[in-house]
């Protein structure tokens, strides 16, 4: 049996032009602290009753899911797995505001019905009539990696041969204020709070795929030594050396507290490696790493790293891009490593 696992297709709606890879050559730049996603004209893509009935987060999820299913020729994936830090916070906020402002007597069910985190995965299953494995991870800044790890293991264990993995978080104006108060967003100029909607199809078919998914590791509060051991384990299991890694994609976002962890860890974990970024394009949200993996997969597919992705201007950009390591950390507690390779590797 073909054991290699590939990212067959991916599709995003974010602060960059939707359903496209325009960000590679013509990235939209932002200076404001809070940016909502650029929504496509849903009427063009979704049936009127679907477009009317669903909130933005769910419309984005259904549309990106449908697009990657179509692009990879999968009508019903064996598994549907979503990572979402906060779930359907717009609907949650509507119900919660009504509850705390108007009391418990006049509430309506509509917003409650679509307020649970698993609404996204279930809705995609209902939309595509898929009775297979269906799950949702909600764990702050590594929600997406938990979903990706599950999908990777489903394929590796032979439980599934196609897995739809999504990263979905919306950011309401109200929740932006809350997350700023909590110190997560708005730490400095240069970074912005954004929204994430990205779907990707994992499978075993190499032809036409974006890249190979070699391995996924997550860790909770590892010491620097432990993080190094986990990284080495990932590279060894993938028969890849750090020397063969062309670049490391990281989650710097302009927030001093966040960036300090990368400043401390990167020189120890991957000394001298070119560092790439993605949050300058897509902003910060709990599942922004989903967009980072999408960006790395796109770069491997196109075999070109645009200059704006480099954290520091490179002496010479690598010519053939074989391996990109993705490294994310959240508040110094949750860490993840994902190894992606070009399909030829």
């Amino acid at each position: 049996m073909q054991k290699d696992i590939y990212i067959r297709a991916a599709c995003q709606i974010s602060a960059q032009p939707p359903l496209s890879e325009e960000w590679l050559d013509a990235p939209v730049r932002y200076s404001e602290p809070y940016v909502r996603a650029m929504d496509p004209d849903y009427k063009r893509y979704l049936e009127p009753n679907v477009a009317r009935r669903l909130g933005k987060l769910l419309k984005r999820a259904v549309l990106t899911a449908r697009r990657v299913m179509e692009a990879s020729g999968v009508a019903c994936p064996d598994a549907i797995i979503t990572g979402t830090g906060l779930g359907c916070i717009e609907n949650t906020g509507v119900f919660l505001n009504a509850l705390v402002r108007e009391g418990e007597e006049l509430l309506k069910p509509t917003s409650f019905m679509q307020s649970t985190h698993n609404t996204i995965s279930s809705l995609i299953a209902i939309d595509a009539r898929c009775h297979g494995y269906n799950s949702t991870y909600a764990h702050k800044g590594i929600s997406f990696e938990c979903a990706l790890l599950d999908g990777y293991l489903q394929l590796k264990a032979g439980e599934a041969s196609t897995v739809l993995v999504g990263a979905h978080d919306e950011m309401t104006p109200e929740y932006f204020v809350l997350l700023k108060r909590a110190g997560y967003l708005g730490g400095a100029p240069g970074g912005f709070g954004g929204e994430t909607a990205v779907s990707m199809m994992l499978g075993r078919q190499r032809a036409g795929s974006l890249c190979r998914l070699r391995g996924v590791e997550i860790a909770y509060r590892p010491s620097a030594d432990e993080a190094g051991r986990i990284l080495n384990g990932l590279l060894q299991a993938s028969r890849c050396s750090l020397d063969a890694v062309d670049a490391v994609m990281i989650g710097t976002n302009g927030h001093p507290r966040n960036d300090a962890v990368y400043a401390e860890m990167c020189p120890v974990l991957f000394p001298g490696k070119p560092l790439l970024r993605y949050k300058h394009l897509f902003g910060e949200s709990y599942t922004a790493p989903g967009l980072g993996v999408y960006a790395a997969a796109t770069v491997l597919h196109r075999q070109r790293i645009p200059g704006h992705l480099f954290v520091h201007a490179p002496g010479e950009a690598p010519r053939n891009i074989h391996n990109i390591l993705f490294y994310n950390q959240f508040e110094g507690k949750n860490h993840s490593f994902i190894l992606l390779s070009s399909c030829g590797e």
């Binding site: 549907i80 979402t84 830090g85 119900f95 919660l96 505001n97 509850l99 705390v100 402002r101 009391g103 418990e104 007597e105 509430l107 309506k108 069910p109 409650f112 019905m113 679509q114 649970t116 985190h117 698993n118 609404t119 995965s121 279930s122 809705l123 299953a125 209902i126 595509a128 898929c130 009775h131 297979g132 494995y133 269906n134 799950s135 949702t136 991870y137 909600a138 764990h139 702050k140 929600s143 938990c146 599950d150 293991l153 489903q154 264990a157 109200e174 204020v177 997350l179 108060r181 909590a182 110190g183 997560y184 997550i218 860790a219 909770y220 590892p222 432990e226 709990y286 507690k333 949750n334």
Partner: protein, 399 residues
């Protein structure tokens, strides 16, 4: 000892008991935990509930957490149940190198958010609770109290969250990712979902009657429960005695409706059939089914039809223990896993309380608890969530 996934610890906290011993006593003596509201500050006092009979302050004292610490009711309950499970599995005393904590919740810190939401919006006095709102924060509070976990994840598939945490733990063990996994879930009652369920008109104003023709909805409950799962090799190396095996599990999607189950129970049928297939067991080998059995008109009929489709004319004793505990939502998969394990080990069928009228469309009636069962060898536990997230778990005696 055979290969596979073993349960080496279990902890439970619900309206019917603060540990396994109390829970077993209540089940045996048919003492329900459903009663009038006592701890939740809501105007809906007309609904009976299954509350954990401790205040947050009492739980803090038991856990020796200063009451000035930022905590949520969900995480406090989770801590108490996780501690019982860890103690039984001799963790961390008999060390396992890589231990995961995988917890299911949906409301997370909503109990505090609904109390402080206007402060969240208007001032900086409750900022610590903004960070404590999400599901992951709840799991990390538990992780940081014990400080022994190298992998920490949060599942949120509504009322099957804890069951899916158990399923994921088994996957991580089989794939050699961890040596032991503490898996389950926790959830307190909040005004948010009490009112949400009320707007859906699925709350019974009387103590609930699962699988009764006159059932009129569910009673909310709260609680937490965790299992310690590990491989045979790990249990042997650490010298701990397993309670039972997790012999099979399956997660499927009903793919029907955001808040309703399908008329033919397709998702439930597939999750039960999938768990049997994973365990390599035939339907007639199952000795007891701990049903999801919420007491709503829709669930019990849909689940009953699915049970008939899987088991045909030979349906084993079926009961819903939600008439004891209330529906503990995201924790239910854990609470009912522990109850299933108690039944398996003690060889008894927990009664389906308050049943009197058979459902016409179904060919079976729920267990009275008086069944002569002999030895239970295999027990199936169902947990179904909003959106059709259906999961079935199979626990088996160690032969």
């Amino acid at each position: 000892m055979q290969g596979g996934i073993f349960v080496t610890g279990a902890g439970i906290l619900s309206a019917i008991g603060k540990n396994k011993q109390e829970t077993l006593g209540a089940l045996r003596e048919r003492r329900t935990g459903i009663g009038p509201l006592r701890y939740l500050n809501t105007s809906h006092t007309e609904f009976p509930v299954g509350e954990v009979q401790w205040s947050n302050e009492e739980m803090c004292r038991i856990l020796q957490i200063p009451d000035t610490a930022v905590t949520t009711r969900t995480s406090l309950m989770g801590l108490i149940a996780a501690r019982e499970a860890l103690d039984q599995a001799a963790l961390p005393d008999k060390r396992a190198p890589r231990v995961a904590l995988i917890s299911g919740t949906t409301v997370g810190g909503m109990d505090k958010s609904e109390q402080y939401y206007l402060d969240f919006l208007e001032n900086d006095t409750r900022n610590a609770y903004i960070a404590a709102h999400d599901c992951g924060a709840c799991t990390e509070m538990i992780a940081d109290y014990f400080g022994i976990f190298s992998t920490v994840e949060t599942l949120s598939t509504a009322c099957s969250s804890a069951a899916n945490a158990i399923l994921l733990g088994a996957m991580l063990l089989r794939e050699g990712r961890v040596d032991a996994a503490v898996v389950g879930g926790c959830e307190c009652i909040t005004k948010f979902h009490l009112n949400g369920f009320n707007t859906l008109m699925i709350l019974d104003r009387e103590p609930c009657k699962p699988f009764d023709a006159c059932r009129a909805g569910l009673n909310l409950g709260e609680g937490a429960a965790y299992l310690v799962l590990e491989t045979a090799a790990s249990a042997r190396r650490r010298g701990v005695t397993p309670l039972c095996r997790l012999s099979g599990a399956a997660n499927t999607s009903d793919a029907f409706h955001q808040t309703a189950s399908s008329p033919d129970g397709e998702g439930a049928y597939q999750s039960m059939a999938g768990a049997l297939a994973a365990a390599g067991l035939a339907p007639e080998e199952i000795d007891y089914i701990n049903a999801h059995g919420t007491g709503t008109v829709n669930n019990d009929l849909s689940e009953g039809i699915a049970i008939q489709r899987v088991f045909g004319p030979r349906i084993p004793p079926v009961s819903s223990t939600k008439a004891f505990t209330g529906h503990t939502t995201s924790a239910a998969g854990g609470v009912e896993a522990v109850i299933s394990i108690l039944a398996l080990r003690e060889n008894f069928i927990p009664a389906n309380l308050r049943f009197s009228n058979p459902i016409q469309e179904l060919a079976f009636t729920p267990a009275t608890g008086d069944e002569a069962v002999g030895t239970l060898r295999h027990v199936l536990s169902n947990s179904f969530g909003f959106g059709g997230n259906n999961t079935s778990l199979l626990f088996s005696k160690i032969e």
